[in-house]
Amino acid sequence: MGEPVNNTAEDFEDFFEGSLCGFIIADPKGIIIRANANVARWTNTEAAVLKGRRFSDLLSIGGKIYYETHLSPLLRMQGFFDEVVLELAVADGRKMRVMVNALERKNAGDNPGFIRYTIIKASDRLLYEKNLQIAKTGAEQALLEQKEIVTLREQLIAVLGHDLRNPLSAIGMAVELLEISLQGEQQTRLVQTLKRSTGRMKELVDNIMDFARTRLGESIVLNREEVLLQPVLQQVTDELRLGYPNRQVLTTFNIEQPVHCDVHRIAQLVSNLLANAFTHGSTDAPVIFRAAHKDNILELAVCNKGEPIPEIFRENLFAPFTRESSQNGLGLGLYICSEIARAHKGLLSFSSTEEETCFTFRMPV
């Protein structure tokens, strides 16, 4: 290999000896008739010495067994095998990784005449393959670690949320007591501020806990009971109105039968949807709140006029943390609403056009 060739014309002798491949011609039993210089060089011997040896003798022990038990039968039955990774036994226990193709040639009587082996050095290719494998294993490991970290973080949020509740409710109670012994308008205003902030904080903590729970694979736990919903919906609407004194709500309730549901969760869902409608809807038009029980379906719909929901928010509207950055809060409201709907085996959906934006909760009753 690499030596200057005297005559410039291609000849087969030079092709056989001077190629970068290892070539072996063997009899049908796999006994080497002729091997080229590359094979000899790779196996650290002379081409003449290779003559008469079995092809599988050139292989590492694993390769030899694989050859005799798998490849040789395959070659016999199929007439060829190709792209098989094997190891040539070099010297002092070292191995060289190669790709081998083999073809069984027939003689005139359709009997096996001889076998041609083509051997291609594959060290780099296989090293590359191995590196890919290592990188893949590494990436899988990293992903696993990240998943663990995320779970830990979510557990932390759940625990934190839970632990924040107690001091928060102590503050809330203290504010209530303060309110009773109030003197002067300024104090009243301060206490009202305290009260609102405490209430808001409690809501945030509750949302965080709901979120963490659902992320940890638990769904929202329901305390279902048979309940007359209309008075409850009315009360939620009235409470919300207090917070938005300039806004109007038109309600149409048509639920005579008691409904089997978690009344606090339904109230939470409605409260969220109404608050969203007040915040995002047009101030010129009233918010429409319809509730009906028909054909075994409970349907609650909250609609408002105004700008439609921008296209880019629509796809992930119910995903957590996806609020427009201009708003305060964590962006968990609609996520938790949809989880409440899911826990009730129902569905929260929305439609938004130039005409109006509607959020509709439907559940089977």
Binding site: I61, G62, E68, H70, P73, Q78, D82, E83, L86
Partner: protein, 263 residues
């Protein structure tokens, strides 16, 4: 589970006397494709795939069960029982030779005779015993199995898709031909090469034919001689065929030797 489906049992032949052919480590019942036609007229032929090979039910593969050759022997007994067979002529290639001996001892009367093609009771050299492999070589083999170094890990599918040159292998065969699940092949190699069943040989009660190839790197000639010496009433035939698979490389010589033994 239906054992006949599990082991992809295929029966043929016009005769009454049953010949049960068991393939060895490396392929499937296709190993016998050049041998069985010679017995179709006079015998009932039963072929099957060991679980994990060929068209067997891979979901039936149980790592624990098939870590021992006994697991495979149980399957052979179950197949024979399901078909209501007794006094069978058992023909086992390679490791299936020992699987047959185990089955014969577990269930006397099951086999009338044993034909062992390239068998070996133990592959490791041990004192005076020549198994063919040194401990170091075996370690190297086990390491290469663990490290996926070789084609063991290569799916055979791309190799077996295009079936040029051999007309008799139809389209449907092409896909199942010699199919090996790489993980199972590695396990099977482990089970095979770590087994040592030499102690069973003297207790073999039925007549046995040992077909020993010359130049078999898996089971050298000394192994055939050892088995012949250990098994009372055995016949040893040293074949001109070389390699480990005379059923493929020298089908006629294999057929002749079996026919002469069966008389």
């Amino acid at each position: 589970m239906d054992v006949l489906t599990r082991n992809n049992v295929v029966t043929s032949g016009k005769g009454q006397q049953v010949m049960l052919f068991a393939h060895g480590f490396g392929c499937d019942q296709n190993m016998w494709r050049y041998v069985t036609p010679a017995f179709e007229d006079d015998y009932k032929i039963v072929l099957f795939d060991h679980v994990g090979a060929g068209n067997s039910d891979l979901s039936a593969y149980d790592t624990h069960k098939y870590a021992q050759l006994e697991g495979y022997a149980e399957d052979v007994i179950e197949v024979a029982t399901q078909l209501g067979l007794r006094d069978i002529i058992f023909v086992g290639h390679s490791v299936s030779g020992m699987i047959g001996i185990i089955a014969a001892q577990k269930k006397p009367g099951l086999f009338k005779s044993l034909i062992l093609v390239s068998p070996s009771p133990s592959y490791i050299n041990d004192g005076d015993y020549t198994g063919g492999f040194t401990r170091d070589q075996l370690e190297e083999l086990l390491e290469s199995l663990d490290n996926n170094h070789l084609g063991w890990s290569m799916s055979m599918a791309p190799v077996i898709m295009g079936n040029t040159g051999r007309q008799e292998l139809g389209e449907e065969l092409a896909n199942s031909f010699c199919r090996t699940d790489p993980a199972i092949a590695r396990q099977f190699a482990r089970t095979t090469f770590l087994s040592d069943k030499r102690s069973l040989l003297p207790a073999v009660q039925v007549p046995a034919l040992i077909l020993q190839c010359s130049e078999d790197v898996i089971a050298p000639e000394a192994v055939g001689e050892y088995m012949h010496a250990q098994m009372p009433g055995s016949t040893l035939v040293i074949m001109n065929a070389t390699g480990h698979c005379p059923n493929l490389s020298a089908p006629q010589e294999t057929i002749d030797a079996i026919k002469q033994f069966l008389g």
